[in-house]
Amino acid sequence: MIAIYICAGIAVYAAIRIIAEHNTMRKLPFLNVVSFAVTGIIALLMPHPITIAAAAAYFVGSTLESNAIASTWSGGIKKDG
């Protein structure tokens, strides 16, 4: 039962660090920590086989968003030639 409180505490801590950090690119690792913690909370709250798909969908979705933000911020896709 302590596990879920640890995940929630870390999620809140990382969210505060996101707000405190001013550089957009350096916010993203903290956002990643929030994604990890929330994925853990989803699984811990609903111990059912289908939860794996929900947790993975949430995690991959949030990673893809971070990927898109970072790539867009760095200038988008670099085309050869």
Binding site: R26, T39, A56, A68, I69, T72
Partner: protein, 169 residues
């Protein structure tokens, strides 16, 4: 049996070693997999960190790597036992491809973590210990100090390069 806080602490150390070993073997600190990961690495270096550590942090942000694999394997074993962990490995594989990542670090990390977590549940651990443990493990790399974390990863990357010399840091 051990108390829950102690089990979570041990699980965090096991998760940390699992994802760090696999990420180093799969050369995550070598270069950025996508342009966003490279940009994060450059910002980390500008802030006083090391570029190789920044590459690994950027790669962890940009695509599900072994750390994500370890977390989802723990979730899988917690929800559905050994088959759940292996199903999570398939989802991580699909997630890697969605995120335009050609590597296998996430899938490999998920499969090794599935067996580690399942083995640990046989000797008195609970899979939820590994979920909280992995969240603590990722906090140490991504969530406390990017300067110190990137230096630590860069130092481990140098050790890894000493064993396999063709990968220069």
């Amino acid at each position: 049996m051990l108390d829950e806080p102690l089990r979570i602490l041990i699980a965090a150390i096991i998760c940390w070693l699992n994802f760090m070993t696999i990420d180093l073997i799969f050369r995550l600190p070598h270069s950025g997999g996508v342009s966003g990961a490279t940009a994060i690495a450059q910002e980390v270096e500008k802030g006083g960190g090391k570029l190789n550590g920044g590459f690994m942090m950027g790669n962890i942000v940009s695509s599900p790597d072994a750390s994500a694999g370890t977390l989802l394997a723990s979730c899988g074993v917690y929800c559905a036992g050994l088959p759940g962990g292996l199903f999570a490995a398939l989802l991580v594989y699909i997630g890697n491809r969605i995120c335009y990542d050609p590597g296998y670090a996430g899938t490999t990390g998920c499969i090794t973590a599935t067996f580690i977590v399942y083995g640990a549940t046989q000797i008195g651990f609970v899979a939820s210990d590994f979920i909280a443990g992995m969240v603590i493990a990722i906090l140490t790399i991504q969530g406390i100090s990017y300067v110190h974390a990137s230096r630590l990863v860069a130092r481990l990357w140098k050790v890894r390069c000493r064993f396999i010399p063709e990968d220069k840091p």
